[in-house]
C-alpha cells in the first residue's frame, strides 16, 4: 500500500448561531509514505479544518464530519473511538501548530514535555525517556541539550520553541507529521533554519509531512506535491512543478500572479478582486466564480468536475471542459522557467 493517508469526499460543518458553516466540502487527498504535501490557499479556505479533522481535534459539540472517510493505513479514523484515536494521536500522526507558545505548557520544563509523550506511548523508563529527549533536542539543533531540558519554554526564543515543538511532534517517530503554518510566526532567518531542519529530518526519519501554509515560497522549498484550496474545496492538485509551472486553475493563476517576483521588472501586481465566499451559504457552483475573470454561466450554476490534466495533476474548473473556450494563463502567473 503506497498511500499512508487518504481522505475521500470529506465534508466538515460547524453548527453556529448563524447557521451551518460548511467549512470543508468534498475534499479528496492522499499522502504517500515519506512524501511531503503542501496545502495552500486563502485564509478561511478550510486548510486547518481539514487537518484537524484528520487528528479529530475539532470541537466535538459544534462540529461534525458530515460525510466521507479518512483512511490511515486503511483504517477509517472517523469511525474510531476516542480511546483508539488517543493512541494514534501524537504517536502515529502528530501535529505542529502555528504558534509555538500555545502548544507548549508554560509551567512544565521542556524535557518533561518531550518525555510525556514518550512515556505514554512507548513505555520507556524515566531514564530511557530522558536520554531520548536529550537526543531529540540535539536532533533539532538545540545546543547543550543536557542542561536545557530542565528549562521552561519562556527561557527559549521563538525559533527555539518551535524546534522544541518539532522535537515533541517527532518524539514517537510518527508516520505522518501535520505542520500547520509552522514558520508563519517566525522571522525569515529563523524560518530558513526551521525549513532546513524539517527537510533534513524528513530525509533522516522518512516521516510523511502535510505542510499547511499560505507562502508559496515555502511550498517551493519543501514540498513534492501541492493541493490548492478555495472555499472549502480543493481546486487544483499536482506535483509542485506541475502546479507552479503549468497551473490550470484561475485561482492558482491569481495566487501566483499576486506575488511580486524578486527578479522581475516592477509591473503592477495582478490582484484578485473581491473576497472569498461566505461558507454559511456557499455558492452552488464553482466557489471561485464570483471573483473569476473567466467565469461563465455554467460556473455559477454547477460545481465543476475534476479533470485529470495528467495522472498526478487534477483541476476542478469548467475551463478544462472540452466545450469551454481556450484560455491562456496571464503572463504574471508564469513562474521563472514556466514552459
Amino acid at each position: 500500500m503506497k498511500n499512508i493517508l487518504e481522505l475521500n469526499n470529506v465534508n466538515v460543518s460547524f453548527h453556529t448561531f448563524a447557521g451551518e458553516v460548511k467549512a470543508v466540502r468534498g475534499v479528496n487527498l492522499h499522502l504517500e509514505k515519506g512524501e511531503s504535501l503542501a496545502i495552500v490557499g486563502e485564509s478561511g479556505s478550510g486548510k486547518s479544518v481539514t487537518s484537524k479533522s484528520i487528528m479529530r481535534l475539532l470541537p466535538e459539540k459544534t462540529s461534525e464530519i458530515k460525510e466521507g472517510e479518512i483512511l490511515f493505513e486503511g483504517r477509517d479514523l472517523t469511525k474510531l473511538s476516542n480511546r483508539e484515536m488517543e493512541k494514534i494521536r501524537g504517536s502515529e500522526i502528530s501535529m505542529i501548530f502555528q504558534d509555538p507558545m500555545t502548544s507548549l505548557n508554560p509551567t512544565m520544563t521542556v524535557g518533561k514535555q518531550i518525555m510525556e509523550g514518550l512515556r505514554k506511548h512507548q513505555n520507556l523508563s524515566k531514564n530511557e525517556a530522558k536520554e531520548r529527549a536529550i537526543n531529540l533536542l540535539k536532533l533539532v539543533g538545540i545546543p547543550n541539550p543536557e542542561l536545557r531540558i530542565n528549562e521552561y519554554p519562556h527561557q527559549f526564543s521563538g525559533g527555539m520553541r518551535q524546534r522544541v515543538v518539532i522535537a515533541i511532534a517527532l518524539a514517537c517517530n510518527p508516520k505522518v507529521l501535520i505542520a500547520d503554518e509552522p514558520t508563519t510566526a517566525l522571522d525569515v532567518t529563523i524560518q530558513a533554519q526551521i525549513l532546513d531542519l524539517m527537510r533534513d529530518l524528513q530525509q533522516k526519519t522518512g516521516t510523511a509531512i502535510i505542510l499547511i501554509t499560505h507562502d508559496l515560497g515555502v511550498v517551493a522549498n519543501l514540498s513534492q506535491r501541492v493541493a490548492v484550496m478555495y472555499g472549502g474545496t480543493i481546486v487544483e492538485t499536482g506535483t509542485t512543478d506541475e502546479v507552479f509551472y503549468n497551473p490550470k486553475h484561475p485561482y492558482t493563476w491569481g495566487l501566483l500572479s499576486s506575488m511580486p517576483k524578486l527578479n522581475s521588472a516592477d509591473k503592477e501586481l495582478m490582484a484578485i478582486p473581491g473576497t472569498p465566499p461566505n461558507l454559511l451559504n456557499p455558492p452552488k457552483g464553482c466557489p471561485f466564480a464570483a471573483r473569476c475573470p473567466y467565469a461563465m454561466q455554467v460556473c455559477v450554476d454547477n460545481m465543476p468536475d475534476v479533470t485529470d490534466v495528467t495522472s498526478t495533476h487534477k483541476t476542478a474548473c469548467w475551463l478544462l471542459d472540452e466545450r469551454a473556450p481556450q484560455v491562456e494563463p496571464p503572463e504574471a502567473a508564469l513562474v521563472g522557467g514556466a514552459r
Binding site: 522571522d187 525569515v188 508559496l216 491569481g254 495566487l255 506575488m259 524578486l262 521563472g336
Partner: protein, 334 residues
C-alpha cells in the same frame, strides 16, 4: 535617477529611542538611526521582529518622544518645541497606517465618522454636505462605495478595513504617510489589491511613503530605496534594485538568501546562508558590531569597534568593517 536633484522631504539624524524597562535596564529600540526621504519616493524599511522598525516610524511621527537625535520635515525641526498651530499643521501633513486592520478602527464608529475624524479636527469641511462629499470621494478613491459609509468596521473584510485605514489617512490630504506593515495581516491576493492602490495614489497625489514590512519581495516591489535594520541600527541602505542584486552587509545577504522564492527549480538549486543562533536581546546588545554574534565574516575588530556608516558605492550605504578601507589599510600595515 539623479539623486542630487531630488528634494529632501524628511531628514532623520542620529535618531534614538530608548525605553526604560525595569531596574536600570535600558532597551535601545532605535539607536543612532539616520536617513533621508526624498519627495515622492517610497523608502522601505525591513528587518526582523523587534529590530525597531515600528519604533522608528512612531518616533518620527511623534507617537513616541525621541531620546536623542532629530527629525526635520521640509527643513523644520519636528521634535523641538512647537506652537499648537505648527503641531496641528504637522499632524495633518504626516499620517500613519497601521498593521492591524482589525484593531486600528474603532468598532463603535461608522465608516464615515472614522474617515471624517481628521476632516473635523482640522476643519477641512465647511458644512455637513461638504464633509460627506469628501467621505464619498475618499471611499471611491480606495475602491469602496457610498453605501459603505454608514456601516461598521466588523462588516468588512481585512483588505476592505485596510482600505478604510488608507482613506482615513488620506482624508487630511497628507504629503507623507508612514505605513507600518499595512499588508502583513492580509492574504496575498488581498495584499496585491492594497499595494496596487497605494502605488496608484502615490502617482496621482505625489505622496511620499515610509513603508515598513518584513516581506522583502513586497518591499522591493513598492520601494525606490530600502533600508535594512538590525537590533536598533540601520545596517544598509541603497536603491532597491542595487540592494537586492548586490547586498553588501552580511546580514542583508543572509536575509535575502533566506526568503523562499516561489519557484521550485530556483529553490532546489539555491545556496542559502543559514545564520546560526538567535537574535540577541536589545537590552544587552553585543559590543562593536551588533551583528557579529551571528556574522559568518566576523573579525576581531568587530567586537571592539562599532562600524562606521559608509558610502561604499554611490548612494549605497553600509555599516560593516568589511567595507572600511581605512581600517583595512591599517590592518595591512600592522
Amino acid at each position: 535617477m539623479a539623486v542630487v536633484e531630488r528634494e529632501k522631504l524628511l531628514e532623520v539624524k542620529n535618531l534614538k529611542k530608548h525605553f526604560n524597562v525595569g531596574k536600570n535596564a535600558v532597551l535601545k529600540a532605535v539607536d543612532n538611526v539616520s536617513f533621508d526621504i526624498y519627495k515622492g519616493e517610497t523608502l522601505g524599511l525591513v528587518g526582523e521582529s523587534g529590530c525597531g522598525k515600528s519604533t522608528t516610524g512612531r518616533t518620527i511621527i511623534r507617537l513616541y518622544e525621541a531620546t536623542g537625535g532629530n527629525v526635520t520635515f521640509e527643513g523644520k525641526d519636528v521634535h523641538g518645541k512647537k506652537s499648537r498651530k505648527d503641531l496641528k499643521s504637522f499632524n495633518r501633513r504626516m499620517q500613519m497606517i497601521f498593521q492591524d486592520p482589525y484593531a486600528s478602527l474603532n468598532p463603535r464608529m461608522t465608516i464615515k465618522d472614522i474617515i471624517a475624524e481628521g476632516i473635523d479636527i482640522h476643519g477641512l469641511a465647511k458644512n455637513d454636505k461638504e464633509r460627506m462629499e469628501r467621505v464619498y470621494e475618499l471611499l471611491e478613491t480606495v475602491g469602496l462605495n457610498r453605501a459603505h459609509a454608514s456601516r461598521y468596521p466588523h462588516e468588512f473584510s481585512g483588505g476592505q478595513r485596510q482600505r478604510i485605514g488608507i482613506a482615513r489617512a488620506l482624508a487630511v490630504d497628507p504629503d507623507f504617510i508612514i505605513a507600518d506593515e499595512p499588508i502583513s495581516a492580509l492574504d496575498v491576493s488581498i495584499q496585491a489589491q492594497v499595494v496596487n492602490l497605494m502605488m496608484k495614489l502615490q502617482k496621482e497625489r505625489g505622496l511620499t511613503y515610509l513603508f515598513i514590512a518584513h516581506d522583502l519581495s513586497m518591499v522591493k516591489h513598492i520601494s525606490d530605496r530600502v533600508g535594512v535594520m538590525y537590533l536598533g541600527n540601520i545596517v544598509e541602505l541603497a536603491e532597491s534594485d542595487e540592494l537586492y542584486e548586490e547586498p553588501l552587509h552580511p546580514y542583508t545577504q543572509a536575509l535575502l538568501s533566506a526568503i523562499p522564492v516561489p519557484d521550485p527549480e530556483v529553490e532546489r538549486s539555491r545556496e542559502r546562508i543559514i545564520l546560526e543562533g538567535d537574535l540577541p536581546s536589545p537590552i544587552s546588545p553585543p559590543s562593536g558590531c551588533r551583528f557579529r554574534t551571528r556574522c559568518p565574516h566576523a573579525m576581531d575588530v568587530c567586537a571592539s569597534k562599532e562600524p562606521k556608516w559608509l558610502e561604499a558605492r554611490e548612494g549605497h550605504w553600509v555599516a560593516c568593517h568589511l567595507y572600511d578601507n581605512e581600517l583595512n589599510t591599517e590592518n595591512k600595515q600592522q
